[in-house]
């Protein structure tokens, strides 16, 4: 019997898991994929928004504003790369200038600090490659960029180190409640019993909710397609740059990533199927053209990857974070679209507050360790490098030459408390395959290392999903 079961190991579930691991509670996280951070968390704009954008008085506005300042400490504790590079909303004409002034005012009302309207000239000093048609911009200095996958991996690893359990490959198929106890049924898995349930199931949050509570919201999947550009393009912009927002959302943006690439997108495709993560030529083309309005010199000639992510858009227009009406003990953390990542730390605290009000006892552990130490070999000091090399010379062997990742880094990624078991799992933790060769050179080497370290045959190593096999057998 668990005190709390969390369904979904994305950034929402991960933040709640880590926060709950501060207390004397028996907590388990259930995840249907082969790894944590495999849903919406792995495919988004990777931005920590300043918080001027959501409607005033919404949960989104409150939790974004509260969440943003928490990232410095979390990322320091968990060794997650995070940079406050600032964001710009660019205006091209009088109407848009009025709009960014309204956003500025809204930001002030919400309580967002360090905002400024930039003049034409000030904008060009900050972003020399901006379109000649841009008349000005709203600067929000507290906006930042992050690696949401590393964040989530570290959050869950930290939770696990502090006593939380994690079960991967667990697809929840049913939930019943009897005598105040929830029973979770998994596809070909043992049932899990708990007093409290946190529904952080992302694009499936409505489905999970409806298993045990009265249906009262829907998740409307909205896909976003992106390009990732080579690091050689990394200097084309210095900030997160948005166009003036319209009805479709924040629009197609361009931003540096925390690893030095450029990300451009997303499209905004409304779909029925939450698993349809296809990219399409038409919408990628629109994303490319859209970004050229902001930065005319951008080309996708040095694209290294295209991908699509699914936003868990709620039909209510706001985050759904509450105890499900009529189902005491069942908590939704649902409809977590943008700014869900930015709000995540505050959302978790807000949710846990609601759980406490509903009777969850929060007794702090004596020995909570907030720290995850997680640095790549070449990011360490010379002194640390020399020490590590003496312990294990494999820290000196570079496996991924695009991102300068050593065999020692890959061994760490595999042997950590929440270690990688797939090629993409290694990639998310330490980046071999994220560079310009996209795993062409390092893929077979990483596969060999995974097979060796886990004592599994090569053919058993998958890319990511259960049936995403890479090899079909030995040669003749």
């Amino acid at each position: 019997m668990y005190d709390v079961v969390i369904i979904g190991a994305g950034v929402s579930g991960g933040t709640v898991a880590r926060e709950l691991s501060r207390y004397n509670l028996k907590v388990i996280v259930l995840e249907k994929e082969t790894d944590v951070s495999c849903g919406t968390t792995k495919a988004n704009s990777a931005i920590i928004h300043a918080g001027y954008d959501p409607e005033e008085h919404s949960l989104m506005a409150r939790l974004n504003a509260e969440g943003n300042p928490m990232f410095d400490r979390i990322c320091e504790e968990l060794d997650v790369p995070f940079k406050r590079i600032g964001s710009l909303v660019v205006a091209y004409d009088e109407q848009q200038t009025a709009h960014i002034e309204a956003l500025y005012q809204r930001g002030l009302n919400i309580g967002i600090e360090k905002m400024k309207i930039l003049s034409r000239e000030e904008l060009r000093v900050r972003e020399p490659n901006i379109s000649p048609d841009a008349e000005g911009a709203l600067l929000a200095e507290t906006a930042g960029i992050i690696d949401p996958m590393l964040l989530t991996i570290s959050l869950i690893e930290n939770a696990v180190v502090n006593g939380c359990e994690l079960k991967l490959n667990y697809t929840v198929t049913g939930i019943t409640k009897e005598d105040g106890i929830f029973r979770i049924t998994g596809e070909a898995e043992q049932d899990v019993e708990a007093r409290y349930v946190v529904n952080a199931a992302g694009v499936y949050a409505d489905v999970v909710h409806n298993m045990v509570a009265a249906p009262d919201f829907r998740i409307l999947p909205r896909r976003g397609q992106y390009f990732v550009l080579d690091k050689s393009e990394g200097a084309v912009v210095n900030s997160v740059i948005f166009p003036c927002p319209d009805k479709g959302g924040k629009g197609i943006l361009i931003t540096p990533t925390v690893h030095g690439n450029i990300l451009l997108g997303p499209s905004s495709d409304d779909l029925e199927d939450p698993d349809d993560l296809m990219t399409t030529a038409e919408l990628l083309g629109k994303a490319r053209m859209g970004v050229r309005k902001l930065i005319p010199s951008v080309t996708t000639r040095n694209s290294i990857r295209t991908f699509a992510g699914m936003r868990a858009r709620p039909d209510t227009g706001d985050f759904i974070i509450r105890e499900a009406p009529g189902t005491k003990g069942f908590f939704d953390l649902a409809g977590i679209k943008s700014p869900g990542l930015s709000a995540a730390p505050a959302s978790a605290l807000y949710l846990i507050g609601l759980m406490e009000n509903s009777g969850l006892k929060l007794l702090e552990k004596e020995a909570f360790n907030p720290r995850v130490e997680w640095k790549l070999f070449l990011e360490r000091s010379d002194e640390d490098q020399n020490k590590l090399l003496k312990e294990n010379p494999l820290y000196g062997r570079i496996i991924c030459r695009c991102e300068s990742i050593t065999e020692g880094d890959i061994l760490d990624a595999i042997h950590r408390p929440v270690g990688a078991r797939t090629l993409d799992g290694v990639k998310r933790r330490c980046r071999p395959g994220m560079g310009r060769c996209q795993g062409g050179f390092c893929g077979p080497k990483v596969q060999k290392i995974l097979a060796r370290e886990q004592d599994r045959p090569w053919e058993d190593i998958v890319l990511e999903k259960k049936h995403s096999y890479i090899l079909t057998g030995r040669t003749k």
Binding site: A281, N386, H467, T472
Partner: protein, 422 residues
């Protein structure tokens, strides 16, 4: 390994090996070859098919056999080999920083030869739409899995791109019991060598779909299907021509990119047309004493030409170390037009020209019965007769030194149809 060398060669593939051997044969006995893999030979080691060496050795060798000839020569002395080692930077002053299981080190050289080769263009760089399942490989990666590691990458394969590696892998898959549904090419002509079209596709009844493209990859976990469509003369998809092909694997042979990240760190000027360093008649880059050769300069289709070019680099690096290098006079640059996409080397100093200069070029499409004409300030220097030119086969002309006497500024190289009275 010493801390100082006369010449450091970056890369132990065919280019680096030939350059090192040639430098030694020109009197340098203090050479270091740095190789990132655990053996010498580079990509040749996974090219177990034959057809290498027809020009250079006048016999047909496999890739490993061709490599071994140079490995044997390298091992004759005067050349230190350090394997399993990555070069992390090269400075203008020719300090080479390396890293391996023994740690990090800086080594200095009088001259550096860049021979890092190239990498394959990936799915991401051509943005093929669709799902992103397992089973999409670059042809070279699949070749490594099959020929070096001994594993099959799939049973039923569609190959995009008619480059040489793609065609060679088509045959390899059939020989291993797999099925190749089609080789799909965006261009209206094969991008690889004609002999590979015949020996790898025709002989095995593998359909070559020219002027086609993969417009979608389907399969959420592993590749299940691709959609192929016809393309027009601008390589745009013709709507309504889409057709599905069931398969579990997609191989990509869609181009090679010279790997010049280190060259950039050394401050070497790159040619946007080749993607490699701008080199002169001696294969010297824009940084004095830093030479370059092989696929890092421009992508070759025959290793034999890589060897010739790399010997030129090695010979001149030796001259540089021995202070025999002639820097008199101004540079004359080649400029290409009329169907020629680039020329390598890009420039020369007359005083330093050998008796005969090999110039490599590529064409943008298929041409019959042409003259390659060299002109300087309206004056024709020479013309070379070419019967059949295709983008898949590098054009090579050998120009005697004396034709360049008195040249200044730019030498224009262009194609003119034979029969035209120009």
């Amino acid at each position: 390994m010493k801390s100082k060398y006369d010449i450091i060669v970056i890369g132990g593939g065919p280019a680096g090996l030939a350059a090192a051997v040639e430098a030694r044969e020109n009197g340098i006995n203090n050479i270091l070859v740095l190789e990132r893999d655990v053996e010498l030979g580079g990509i040749l080691q996974q090219c177990i098919h034959n057809g290498f060496g027809l020009f250079y050795f006048k016999e047909e060798l496999t890739g490993p056999e061709y490599a071994q000839r140079f490995i044997n020569k390298v091992n004759e002395g005067g050349i230190d080999i350090v394997l399993d080692t990555i070069v992390t930077s090269i400075t203008v002053d020719k300090i080479v920083s390396i890293m391996n299981t023994e740690g990090k080190r800086d080594i200095s050289a009088k001259s550096v030869i860049l021979a890092m080769g190239c990498r394959e263009r990936t799915r991401g760089s051509i943005a093929i739409p669709g799902d992103r399942p397992a089973g999409v490989f670059t042809a070279g990666t699949a070749q490594r899995y099959i020929n070096i590691e001994g594993y099959m990458v799939g049973k039923s394969v569609v190959i995009l791109g008619s480059g040489d590696i793609g065609m060679i892998m088509a045959r390899r898959i059939v020989l291993e019991g797999g099925e190749v549904k089609a080789v799909v090419a965006r261009s209206s002509f094969p991008k690889g060598l004609t002999r590979n079209v015949v020996q790898c596709l025709d002989h095995y009844d593998i359909p070559l779909l020219l002027s086609h493209n993969i417009v979608e990859i389907k399969g959420r976990e592993r590749v299940e299907r691709v959609v192929i469509a016809q393309t027009d003369e601008h390589k745009q998809v013709i709507p309504g021509t889409e057709k599905g092909y069931d398969c579990d694997t997609v191989l990509l042979s869609v181009g090679l990119i010279p790997e010049n990240e280190l060259s950039k760190l050394a401050g070497v000027d790159l040619d946007p047309k080749t993607g490699g360093p701008v080199v002169n008649e001696s294969m010297e880059t824009s940084v004095e004493g830093i030479f370059a050769c092989g696929n890092v300069v421009h992508v070759h289709d025959l290793v034999d030409f890589v060897t010739e070019e790399s010997r030129r680099a090695g010979r001149n690096a030796a001259r540089y170390v021995n202070e025999e290098f002639n820097r008199e006079g101004e540079y004359v640059s080649f400029s290409t037009s009329g169907g020629l996409t680039y020329a390598a080397p890009q420039r020369f100093r007359y005083s330093n020209l050998p008796d005969k200069l090999d110039v490599f070029m590529r064409v943008d499409k298929v041409y019959q019965d042409q003259f390659v004409i060299l002109e300087n300030e309206g004056r024709e220097l020479a013309r070379f007769k070419e019967r059949h030119l295709t983008p898949g086969e590098m054009v090579k002309i050998t120009a005697p030194k004396e034709i360049f006497t008195g040249c200044e500024g730019k030498v224009r190289i262009s194609l003119v149809p034979r029969g035209d009275k120009t």
